[in-house]
């Protein structure tokens, strides 16, 4: 079944209460602002931070994140600058890199994913999420992650059936990314029934379940954690804040403050949801 976390930091992030896992694209809209934004997430209570390394063909992303990836690429982001960024960050949260397989495969000398993972480990990255890498193609990356002590997070979709679920769960470690609904990333108003179904199917697996795709408010976070999630992953709602800053020419400080405030709201929502699970509810 699912392996325990390779990374102690990721293990700890989920050990005590619900984990708040925010995502931002590194280098969006530029290197220095982006650093201030990621540090704001940390101050807002992030337990794990997913750092997006932009790829030119992001087939799993919705338009919000795709535009952020384009802003970052236009500002000159590369894998090497990404690693330098991770090294310079002053944060407590565990860092996870989210990117596409071609960048991992091409990095460094020689073939295969090992050089990327080695460099990521040196930069303090604790885990990887690779949305275009299914379990069937993942063994070389899994091996490299085990060698350098990184976790490899897989996404479970509402359409993932029993046999595929087993295959994924044999290879996942750290946490499993539960995709709340079909589609690509993007903030939505409702919380899908598909989330509850997915959490039910995953109940027997002993690995933390973090739910993502569409969470944008403290209320969403509360309901999802109350429904059994061990953590919430928030991407587009935060990227929207960055995009709004670009559009309205806001100062880096103001955008950072907004990100911190939204993070506090999301984290508090998750904690309310968690308490409602552990404490008896007045009127059920």
């Amino acid at each position: 079944m699912a392996e325990p976390a390779n990374s102690a930091a990721i293990g700890e992030a989920f050990a005590d209460g619900p984990a708040y896992v925010p995502y931002l694209v590194v280098g969006d809209p530029d290197y220095e602002s982006s650093k201030a934004y990621v540090e704001a997430l940390d101050r807002g209570g992030a337990d794990v931070i997913e750092l997006g390394l932009p790829f030119s063909e992001p087939i799993a992303e919705g338009s919000t994140i795709q535009e952020a990836l384009v802003r970052s690429l236009d500002a000159g982001m590369t894998p090497d600058r990404f690693f330098a960024f991770a090294e310079e960050l002053d944060v407590d949260a565990a860092l996870v890199c989210m990117t596409y397989y071609n960048l991992i495969y091409q990095y460094g000398e020689g073939e295969g994913p090992r050089p990327f993972v080695e460099r990521a480990a040196a930069a303090g990255i604790e885990g990887l999420v690779v949305p275009d890498l299914p379990a069937e193609e993942a063994d070389p990356l899994r091996e490299a992650c085990d060698e350098f002590g990184l976790d490899l997070v897989f996404i479970v979709a509402p359409t993932t059936r029993a046999d595929r679920l087993d295959r994924l769960m044999e290879r996942v470690s750290g946490y499993v990314y539960v995709q709340a609904r079909l589609g690509t990333t993007g903030a939505r108003d409702d919380v899908s029934d598909q989330t509850t179904d997915s959490l039910d199917r995953l109940r027997e697996y002993d690995v933390p379940k973090a739910v993502g795709f569409g969470i944008s408010t403290g209320d969403h976070a509360e309901r999802i954690v109350a429904g059994g999630a061990d953590g919430i992953i928030v991407g587009s709602a935060l990227v929207d804040v960055v995009a709004d800053g670009v559009e309205n020419d806001l100062s880096t400080g103001e955008v950072a403050d907004r990100l911190e405030a939204l993070s506090r709201e999301l984290k508090a929502g998750a904690e309310r949801g968690y308490r409602s699970r552990t404490e008896p509810v007045e009127s059920a």
Binding site: S56, I59, V70, P131
Partner: protein
């Protein structure tokens, strides 16, 4: 259909040259299924349907496909001797006339196959991407013919370059959605279509237009297109008493290429030439992320794009480059994994022909044989001019599409350079 006919159909789809990749989607290290988890169940379902309906002719799928290709599509297309070219190159040149297929290009073979398959699978909606608009128009025709609702994603820039094709799609009842991200061409349209599919997989089939993407698309599209080589091989033997010495096809994503090569791959005496778009130069601008060509077989490196491991135009970080070609149908940074494999094996010879030579080929076929080829196809005739001395005495060239869609572009491009064999069109191009 009698039992004998059904068996013949089945045997044809079981030809040895088409076994590669069928089981697991791998061609050596190439191929595979690099897609978001949400799409995996859909492509597994598709792989299952491919095996049942295409390989095993369940419910008479292949019989119906072939019947519709004949009645709606106009198959078989002729293999025609090109008299002037034969004389010019002192070798027998034969043209496989896919330009005469309904819609004016080979694209219908695949589009009709996939839309029909979607129907057999119980899907209710069709989506597709298109670059030049050829695959989009073929899909729109097939969807109208089979009464399926259809949405086509097309880059905004391509929409402006290919207006007549946009009109054709709309006339056939399809919705055309412009894609504004990135440079607004084929690769952005593919990403956008994958996004749609990720939300709608349960009732929607994505008709990929070439032998690219995750398994089973590369083998399935090849099998639908392989009717080209199946006919060409029989016609060549019938007309000349033997196999050709050389088979030539242009290569972008590679569907007409692999369709033309499929049944010849096991005929070791037959040389296979995949002609890529050399664009303006084979040099790349790493700084700008631009490859002014589309020669991924000839110059590309191994990588993962749009669901498959294959040869790609990419920078040293692995970011995909903007490709370029005078023909938007060849303008793609990747290529089918099976072609990447056959090139590594030495079975297929990749060669690049630049924009100028392609344009010259366009005019040569037009004014010597009375056939105006698509600019994509014109690359194959540029190859013939440059390499005819290296070829044997019996050459088959696939005329993958007709050039009506390219007239404006061809005249404009001709006007910008000195093409020796072009007619004087200056009276029409003033002010362009």
């Amino acid at each position: 259909m009698s039992e004998t006919d059904t068996r013949t159909t089945k045997e044809m789809s079981r030809r040895p040259g088409r076994e590669r990749g069928r089981d697991d989607g791998k061609f050596g290290q190439y191929g595979g299924q690099y897609v978001p988890e949400a799409l995996m169940p859909a492509i597994e379902e598709l792989a299952d349907a491919y095996e049942r309906y295409v390989l095993n002719n369940e419910d008479g799928f292949m019989d119906e496909f072939r019947e519709r290709l004949a009645d709606f599509g106009g198959r078989p297309t002729p293999l025609q001797r090109a008299d002037r070219l034969s004389e010019r190159y002192d070798t027998e040149v034969f043209l496989k006339r896919e330009d005469l297929l309904h819609g004016g290009a080979h694209k219908l073979n695949n589009a009709l196959g996939q839309v029909l398959l979607a129907k057999y699978m119980g899907k209710e909606r069709i989506i597709a991407e298109t670059g030049a608009g050829q695959h989009g128009t073929a899909t729109a025709m097939a969807a109208a013919h089979l009464d399926m609702p259809c949405t086509i994603y097309m880059g905004e820039r391509d929409i402006n370059r290919q207006r007549p094709n946009v009109f054709r799609m709309k006339l056939n009842g399809s919705e055309v959605k412009p894609v504004t991200t990135g440079r607004g061409t084929l690769k952005e349209a593919i990403s956008e279509t994958m996004r749609d599919w990720a939300e709608t997989v349960e009732d929607t089939h994505y008709v990929i237009g070439s032998i690219v993407g995750p398994h089973p698309f590369p083998v399935m599209v090849r099998d639908f297109q392989a009717v080209i080589s199946e006919e060409a091989r029989e016609q060549a033997i019938e007309k000349t008493g033997g196999l050709p010495t050389d088979v030539v096809a242009c290569a972008g994503g590679g569907s007409n290429t692999m369709g033309t090569f499929a049944d010849f791959v096991d005929d070791e005496s037959v040389a296979l030439h995949a002609v890529e778009a050399g664009g303006s130069t084979l040099q790349v601008d790493e700084e700008e992320g631009v490859a002014p060509n589309s020669a991924s077989l000839y110059t590309g490196d191994e990588g993962v794009l749009h669901g498959a491991r294959t040869k790609l135009l990419q920078d040293s970080d692995g970011q995909i480059m903007e490709s370029h070609s005078i023909s938007s149908g060849l303008d793609y940074a990747g290529v089918g994994p099976e072609l990447a494999y056959l090139v590594d094996e030495g079975r297929v010879e990749p060669v690049a022909v630049d924009d100028d030579a392609a344009l010259e080929g366009f005019h040569r076929l037009s004014n010597t044989e009375g056939i105006i080829p698509a600019l994509e196809t014109a690359h194959a005739f540029g190859f013939l001019e440059e390499h005819h001395e290296e070829l044997g005495d019996r050459v088959v060239v696939n005329v993958s599409g007709r050039g009506d869609k390219d007239l404006d572009a061809a005249i404009e491009e001709t006007d910008q350079r000195d093409v020796a064999n072009a007619p004087d069109m200056s009276m029409f191009t003033e002010g362009i």
